[in-house]
Amino acid sequence: MRKWLLSAFMTGVLIVAAGCSSKPSTDEMKQLSDLQAEVASLQKDIAARQADKDALTKSIAEKDGQIVSCNKDKDALQQRMKGM
């Protein structure tokens, strides 16, 4: 009898403990999942924009060099043609 009562008591405690802690609903879990996906998408976009920025910076530097070289050649040519 005692053992039976003890077992019944323990079972009741477990049922209550399991039922008492609250969990997020299905909608709330979906909200969390959507937010995670949005963050991942933003990180991907940022990586792509950063790559664009790096490529443009490199292109601008190259063009700067070409412009300096072209102006130098133009001046040399003007000088030479003046002397002819």
Partner: protein, 252 residues
């Protein structure tokens, strides 16, 4: 009684399992914390993305401006040069082709065509006087061609100093001089190396039809001493191949 005890034990075990599974799922507090953190992260990322997009747009404009400036400079250069560039480039191509051809000649042929080096030098001097020669794409090329021409002139000088521009050997008799191509090549004043006889043979194909038969009085040009060329080695192999075939045919 026993049945009740067993039933209670089973229910107890089920509850223990369910509790352990349940306890691994996210709690409401944990969910809330993640939502808050992710929302903050999302907002920061959005701000960062907006800033980056602005920077990229500014850089795109700057890149386009630089491209326009470069094109302007190139157009001004083209306007200055006018129609000068095509004939100038053609002159450089002609100089290059001439030097290529002269570089492939043997010492004898180069010596025979040595006057052409002066013509090429005249063309190069004219190119240097042209205004376009100051441009890097042409000045480097002119400098290279002058270097190659100087190397050819040096070769010509060495040919003249060595006396190897032209040597002629007049064939004597077998009885007195034992002159055959092998012995001629062996002479110290010729090659001092009998194995170079194919060089004499190939250098005188118009005179020597059969390398085993040379005649008194034949004037044989002696090419400069050097290792046998691929052509000369091939001729030698062909010579021995025919000799062996003839020997095999006569001794079946």
């Amino acid at each position: 009684m026993r049945f009740l005890t067993r039933l209670t034990a089973i229910i107890f075990l089920v509850c223990v399992c369910a509790f352990s599974v349940w306890s691994q799922e996210m709690s409401k507090e944990e969910w809330q914390k993640q939502i808050t953190d992710l929302t903050t992260q999302r907002n920061d990322l959005k701000n960062k993305l907006t800033t980056l997009q602005g920077e990229v747009a500014a850089l795109q404009k700057e890149d386009a401006d630089k491209a326009a400036a470069l094109k302007k400079c190139q157009d001004e250069m083209a306007a200055m040069v006018g129609g000068m560039e095509a004939p100038f480039a053609a002159l450089l191509d002609r100089i290059d082709a001439s030097i290529n051809e002269l570089s492939r000649l043997s010492n004898q042929d180069l010596w025979a065509r040595r006057a052409e080096l002066d013509s090429v030098q005249t063309w190069l001097d004219a190119a240097k006087k042209n205004a376009l020669s100051v441009l890097p794409k042409y000045s480097g090329r002119i400098s290279d061609e002058q270097g190659r021409l100087d190397a050819l002139k040096k070769s010509l000088q060495q040919i003249a100093e060595s006396g190897s521009e032209m040597r002629v050997y007049t064939v004597g008799t077998w009885a007195r001089d034992r002159d055959c191509l092998w012995n001629i090549a062996k002479k110290p004043k010729i090659y001092a190396n009998a194995f170079l006889w194919p060089k004499i043979w190939q250098g005188n194909r118009d005179e020597i039809k059969n390398p085993d038969l040379i005649y008194k009085g034949q004037r044989l040009k002696i090419p400069p001493k050097a290792e046998l060329t691929a052509h000369e080695r091939s001729a030698l192999r062909s010579y021995w191949s025919k000799k062996h075939a003839a020997a095999a045919a006569s001794n079946p």
